[in-house]
């Protein structure tokens, strides 16, 4: 009934081990995986609906300049937050905190500019026009909601009293929340490519033909 003992039992001295700091980061990877899948499903829906519809790209390809400005804002905010994370690892906490607040500022600027884009486009392309605008607004607004959440999380990071290694949760909040922010920025790269650039290429193609 007993199976074979494979190796000698390890003599683990557990009490002297360091306090673990990485569970939150691992959980954040999982969250990012499932969120990435949510956006992937939405992109799939966008192309599924657009499949075999000529007028889709022909009439409705959005302006190209605006998303790149937004992209520049988000990418630089990610760079700043990355810099802040490096500073926190060097125990340079004040610099890290300033980086958080600058990132928040960039995030707010992004939201304002996106609001302006919606405002200026709404007359011609409102979400309830057809299935193209529905998908376009649903995806970009979902991303906007993620930016909102990101800003609120960074706000928490900005006001929390300490960043270093800790005995109790939350462990390494800076790295964990920075990961989320980088993810939200990466989604925007995909939005620019799939919802702005490719439809414009399709429109050019359409005109040439």
């Amino acid at each position: 009934m007993s199976s074979v003992v494979q190796v000698a039992p390890p003599r683990a001295k557990l009490a002297s081990l360091p306090i673990e700091q990485n569970r939150g980061i691992h959980a954040m990877w999982c969250l990012i995986a499932t969120e990435a899948m949510l956006f992937a499903c939405m992109f799939a829906a966008y192309y599924y609906l657009g499949n075999n519809k000529d007028r889709w790209a022909h009439e409705s390809a959005p302006e190209l300049s605006f998303p790149f400005i937004l992209l520049a804002i988000l990418l630089s905010s990610s760079a700043i937050l990355f810099f802040g994370e490096k500073q926190v690892k060097k125990a340079n906490y004040t610099a890290g905190r300033i980086a958080v607040w600058i990132t928040i500022l960039f995030g707010l600027v992004f939201l304002c500019l996106q609001g302006y884009e919606y405002y200026s486009e709404w007359m011609t392309t409102a979400p309830y026009n057809d299935s193209y605008t529905s998908a376009f607004y649903a995806i970009t607004m979902l991303h906007g909601a993620h930016v909102c959440v990101g800003v609120l999380l960074l706000f928490y990071l900005g006001i929390m009293p300490r960043y270093g290694e800790t005995l109790r949760t939350p462990h390494r909040p800076y790295t964990t929340l920075a990961m989320y922010w980088h993810f939200v920025d990466a989604v925007w790269i995909f939005i620019v490519a799939l919802l702005y650039v490719i439809p414009n290429i399709q429109r050019l193609h359409h005109h040439v033909l």
Binding site: M1, S3, V5, P9, P10, L38, A44, A138, E165
Partner: protein, 633 residues
């Protein structure tokens, strides 16, 4: 320190407060696991009663027990409740209770998230059942095909409640999946390398990953549906450039993996029970583990087999038909492993074993009708008939309800500390088994005779009448069998025998602690050297210097994910009310959204944020790890 002193010290550290505060604030996985099980089982009873009402309506031709609309609401609520609020949560409940004990950890990786998961699950069930209480239950089946679900055809709030309660449940399920993944990969006892993990952990890990990658598809579909219903977008309305198939694609991309989320942990319960009562390790451990993971993987490439009749290219249908056949290979591997284990072992006929063997029988029948419906021409014939109803119930009752009952009889003594009556248990098994087969086997024939699914009645003279009466009788017998087991549990709680540590002489670590387990699990963190720790001549006494007690705080070890070498100590948080408050705020958000109080919804979002901040707020300044002189330099 003496053993008793250690026990007292650990109890002080791990025992939560008593009373109402303790009830609401607990993060103890054992309490939450039992709560999960009780809630899910209660919802199963509610769903079961809905099914019985439907069966009364269908017992004879042209009855008018239910109106057509009420019948639609009943079969929808039955499906929704069973598929989402019973079948998966009950397995989560087992996992939450048993996984930390099984791996020698003192709690899950995120105990407060676990509490949040439970509260959102409970509140989502309440949100779902508000709709029928208002007389506007969802009425489009659990799959809710567009465009029937759009406002034009489904006015009222039933479908809106469907959407919001499901999104809330999605949050809960995803959080639970993340909790399981980190717990299983990082918190196994030292030495429990991935090759020594109990098979239940393989399936829990697999379905947690599947949940992460499949549930977003449902969320996207639901968000689109709600936007269509409330905000005038055009995802599903064909006239405005939308596509009804978009719903089907998104829904079944989620829906078929979900079948395995319901199925795999339940088969893993069987894989845990059969070796114990065959008195030998399972045959083909590696193959069963691999088959489990491959089922989860291939589950992502079979979803079109729910749509063989919508009109697709032959190549797409052939590929998905082949994919569906592949799953039967993996399932067969498991079935043969079980049979071989019984064959080579010396089986003991306990109630849990009865249910496990019953599972094998029903799973084979359900699996075979699944192979039938996976073949395209047969599917075209059987589609939308009672044949498919028979198939889904053989698979879901056979490989979910029966394993769950087996799990209750097997782990029940660990949870309650009392033995259940074997005699009553076996009666319950036979009544359920016979009732189930009497009730559901005729559905195959009814389907082949051409009785469509989801009809509220049928005319006399079509040849359906007698068999439908038989089905109804069988369903009631099945229900009676379930009641017998509940009675058995209640009797055992009042006057059952004491279970002791290991009443079944099992091999898993969960049987090492007392029954019911103390709040800290076991005093010494176990060290594992084989797949069947308690069957080997190696136990706790080999910790004479208390090196594996970890009484410096609420501590539990973290190990490497492949070899389970000890790496660090995880600190486990104390009881907190914040998960409950956060769950209530999230619930408030969805409740406000469904009745369109936008400002209340916004307020609830802010409340969620504030509770979240309070939840994660660092408490004291002394928490920062002091740098050693070496690091500082």
């Amino acid at each position: 320190m003496s053993e008793a002193a250690l026990e007292q010290r650990l109890t002080e550290l791990w025992e939560g407060k008593k009373g109402l505060y303790g009830f609401l604030a607990t993060v103890d996985h054992k309490k939450l696991g039992i709560r999960y099980l009780v809630t899910a089982f209660t919802l199963m009873l509610i769903g079961g009663v809905e099914a019985l009402v439907m069966r009364i309506q269908l017992a004879e031709p042209s009855l008018r027990v239910l109106s057509p609309e009420a019948y639609n609401q009943f079969f929808s609520m039955h499906g929704i409740t069973m598929v989402w609020w019973y079948a998966s949560p009950i397995l989560s409940g087992f996992g939450i209770f048993i996984i930390p004990l099984m791996i020698g950890a003192r709690d899950l990786a995120f105990p407060r998230l676990n509490a949040f998961t439970y509260w959102t699950y409970l509140l989502s069930a309440i949100l779902l059942y508000i709709a029928p209480l208002m007389g506007q239950a969802p009425h489009a089946g659990w799959f809710a095909y567009a465009p029937y679900t759009l406002t034009k055809y489904s006015p009222g709030m039933g479908m809106d409640y469907y959407v919001v309660s499901l999104i809330l449940l999605t949050i809960s399920t995803t959080a639970n999946a993340i909790n399981f993944i980190i717990t299983i990969l990082r918190m196994r006892a030292p030495g429990m390398a991935i090759s020594r993990m109990p098979l239940f952990l393989y399936s829990s890990l697999t379905v947690s990953v599947v949940v992460l990658f499949s549930l977003p598809s449902l969320s996207a579909a639901l968000i689109f549906l709600e936007l269509d219903r409330r905000y005038g977008t055009h995802f599903y309305a064909v006239a405005d450039g939308g596509s009804t198939f978009l719903w089907q694609q998104l829904f079944w991309f989620f829906g078929h993996p979900w079948v395995y989320v319901i199925f795999l942990p339940a088969t893993a319960i069987v894989s845990m029970i059969i070796p114990v009562f065959s008195r030998r390790p399972i045959v083909g451990y590696t193959y069963v583990a691999a088959a489990t993971m491959l089922t989860g993987l291939v589950g992502f490439s079979v979803w079109l087999h729910h749509m063989f009749t919508v009109g697709m290219s032959n190549i797409a249908m052939s590929l998905f038909s082949a994919g569906s056949m592949t799953v039967s290979i993996f399932t067969t591997i498991q079935v043969f492993a079980w049979v071989a284990t019984i064959w080579k072992g010396r089986p003991v006929a306990t109630t849990a074993m009865y249910y496990a063997v019953g599972t094998i029988v029903l799973l084979v029948i359900g699996g075979l009708s699944g192979v039938f419906t996976g073949i395209i021409p047969v599917d075209w014939q059987a589609h939308n008939t009672y044949f498919v109803v028979a198939h889904i119930h053989y698979v879901l009752i056979g490989s979910n309800l029966f394993p769950v009952m087996a799990g209750f009889y097997y782990w029940g003594p660990k949870m309650t500390g009392k033995m259940m009556s074997e005699r009553l248990g076996k009666w319950s098994f036979w009544i359920m088994f016979i009732g189930f087969n009497v009730g559901f086997f005729p559905m195959h024939i009814l389907g082949l005779l051409g009785m469509p699914r989801r009809i509220f009645t049928y005319q006399a003279g079509l040849g359906f009448a007698g068999m439908n009466m038989l089905v109804t009788v069988g369903a009631f017998v099945l229900g009676f069998g379930v009641l017998l087991s509940i009675l058995n549990l209640l009797i055992s709680l009042r006057c059952g025998e004491e279970a002791g540590r290991n009443p079944w002489n099992s091999d898993g670590l969960e049987w090492e602690s007392d029954s019911p387990p103390p709040p800290y699990g076991s005093v010494h963190i176990p060290v594992v050297v084989s797949r069947n720790p308690l069957w080997d001549d190696f136990d706790e006494e080999e910790d004479p210097e208390n090196e594996r007690v970890l009484d410096g705080g609420r501590w539990t070890p973290i190990t490497s994910w492949l070899d389970a070498e000890p790496l660090a100590i995880a600190t486990i948080p104390e009881d907190s009310l914040m998960p409950l408050w956060a769950a209530l705020a999230v619930y408030g958000f969805f409740q406000a959204m469904v009745v369109q109080l936008i400002w209340v919804a916004a307020g609830m979002l802010v409340a969620t944020l504030l509770f979240g901040i309070w939840w994660m707020w660092p408490r004291t300044k002394e928490e920062i790890v002091p740098k050693t002189e070496e690091e500082a330099a």
